[in-house]
């Protein structure tokens, strides 16, 4: 059994080569659980490749990658149950209803009592009234909300975000931010075998009753008999805090949300550090420099 020190993501010399092109070049970093990693870099720096490898949609050419202590390359199947992906593509069947899409995913992941979980998720993303509508009729923002619910159906411990803001209008961005904040502060229930070391079986509800419209609803404000009775979010996020890994072109969003920063350039890790240890201005400068190089 893994201990609490197990990193959420650990990459060692992760390389993706095809032919002569190196999409990733010996990328190494270690991200602790509960962190929010923002990945920056110019186009073609390997951001999406890294995210696709970590979310088991692509295979690296060499190097090692572990998520929650599980080897991604040897046994990608083991880790898929614990990761979620929110992409700029909704990953949904547009001709199925919101509820059908979520039920499909819930059943595939083997969530027990899927109907209940799906109603809960629909409430969280504030789509209960539209649950029986076909996703094709939804606006971009609504589709994205279903997509978030989809990614959370199995209560993943590591969530990957691939350009989640692209194509969203300001209103949808705000709702998305709220949701992100919400799921960040909430714990993940325990499952066997993954790098969480915590007391037995105290499941924390995935979503404490969400109040719609509140800008940053904290689960601590709800009167649930959960460990969330202290005002500090860090305690709320036990037993296992979620880890986030985001690729976004939105510099400000990325910096605001992040606890850790990763700058990629031509597949190489230029910088990986905790946000507190990096001077934001310096980082922005570094970023612009590498973007400039990517263009040239």
């Amino acid at each position: 059994m893994a201990t609490k020190a197990v990193p959420a993501i650990k990459c060692t010399d992760l390389t993706k080569v095809f032919g002569q092109r190196k999409a990733l070049d010996k990328a190494s970093f270690e991200l602790p659980q509960g962190a929010f990693l923002s990945i920056f870099g110019p186009n073609g720096a390997g951001k999406t490749t890294l995210l696709r490898i970590l979310s088991t949609l692509a295979r690296p050419s060499s190097g090692k990658a572990q998520v929650l202590g599980h080897d991604l390359i040897e046994k990608p199947g083991d880790i898929r149950a614990y990761i979620g992906l929110i992409s700029h593509k909704p990953l949904l069947y547009l001709d199925l209803t919101a509820e059908e899409n979520l039920l499909l995913t819930a059943k595939l992941y083997g969530v027990e009592n899927p109907e209940q979980r799906v109603s809960e998720l629909l409430a969280t993303v504030e789509l209960t009234s539209r649950r029986h509508d076909i996703v094709r009729t939804f606006s971009r923002g609504m589709t994205q909300r279903v997509s978030i619910a989809r990614a959370l159906v199995h209560s993943p411990q590591v969530i990957f975000l691939d350009e989640p803001y692209s194509g969203l209008d300001p209103h949808a961005v705000r709702i998305f931010d709220d949701l992100l904040q919400k799921i960040r502060l909430q714990g993940v229930e325990q499952r066997d075998g993954v790098g969480v070391e915590q007391g037995d079986g105290v499941g924390v509800p995935l979503f404490a009753e969400a109040k719609s419209g509140t800008p940053t609803p904290s689960p601590c404000s709800t009167p649930t008999p959960s460990p969330c009775s202290t005002p500090t979010p860090s305690l709320c996020s036990t037993p296992s805090p979620r880890t986030f890994c985001m690729v976004s072109h939105d510099m400000q969003k990325g910096l605001a949300l992040a606890t850790h920063l990763l700058l990629l350039e031509r597949g190489k890790v230029v910088l990986f550090a905790e946000k507190d240890q990096v001077d934001p201005e310096e980082f922005v400068h570094l970023y612009h420099k590498s973007v400039g190089m990517g263009v040239a």
Binding site: F18, G19, Q20, R21, R59, S61, R266, M293
Partner: protein, 250 residues
């Protein structure tokens, strides 16, 4: 990427020459020493033999068999290599196998085209029609179409890794399909008379040019294969040098 020329590459040119010489020798042998299948007869005027009108041209058309059969065999062997390299690619994800699979399929295309040309020529003289829906020709026609489809598939996929994966899978499928189509077209009864030629038990004087031609074409196919692979590897090296140059400039 290694810069050195492998031993196999060094053999390419000699093999090409030896192969050519063998084929020319077999060609001469075929027309001078090898007897005719129906016996060594001259038919200056059209004559009836065994209920068929026979001319010298018709009799000589059987000589096509000595080229048709070897190129057909080699096109099949090349396809087997496509599949083998395809499997190796899927196992290792090493581009070098994709290059080889692609090149092997090119060899298959060259030889299957030669098979078609010789087959049609033979049909024309043996049955008096340019095309007959006969098992051998159907097999090679669809084989040729599949090999052409392989290359169209390659050009239709832009992502190199995906292209290599798809073409490996398709190459394997084609190689599995080819013997099936060979069997089905021969074993399924059709309303057309199926012409089975028992090619076994050829007299030695016929066997010699046949084997020599097979050997000669094999050597040529191998030489062409090595040269193409080498050319592709060099292209890749140029690409990688370009990339490195870009890096240094950046």
């Amino acid at each position: 990427m290694s810069n050195k020329t492998s031993k196999l590459d060094a053999l390419a040119l000699p093999f090409l020459i030896i192969g050519g010489v063998l084929i020319i020798f077999a060609f001469v042998f075929n027309f001078t020493v090898t007897p005719m299948a129906l016996g060594d007869i001259e038919v200056p005027e059209p004559a009836m033999i065994g209920g068929k009108i026979v001319t010298t041209t018709l009799l000589l058309s059987q000589k096509i068999f000595f080229y048709h059969m070897p190129v057909a065999v080699i096109s099949m062997v090349a396809l087997a290599f496509t599949a083998a390299y395809g499997i190796m690619f899927l196992r290792t994800r090493n581009t070098k196998y994709d290059i080889r699979a692609q090149t092997a399929t090119e060899m298959s295309l060259v030889f299957v085209s030669m098979t078609m040309v010789s087959g049609v020529a033979w049909t024309r003289h043996d049955w008096g029609a340019w095309w007959v829906w006969e098992p051998r020709l159907i097999t090679y026609l669809i084989l040729m179409l599949m090999v052409i489809a392989y290359f169209i598939l390659r050009t239709a996929v832009s992502d190199p890794e995906r292209r290599a994966t798809y073409s490996s899978v398709f190459g394997i499928i084609v190689a599995v399909n080819a013997p099936i189509s060979f069997m089905i077209t021969r074993l399924v009864p059709s309303t057309h008379p199926v012409v089975f030629r028992s090619d076994s038990g050829l007299p030695p004087l016929m066997l010699i040019p046949l084997l020599l031609t097979i050997l000669g074409f094999s050597l040529i196919a191998f030489a062409l294969f090595r040269q193409r692979v080498r050319a592709r590897q060099m292209e890749e090296q140029v690409e990688s040098l370009k990339l490195r140059l870009d890096d240094l400039r950046g």
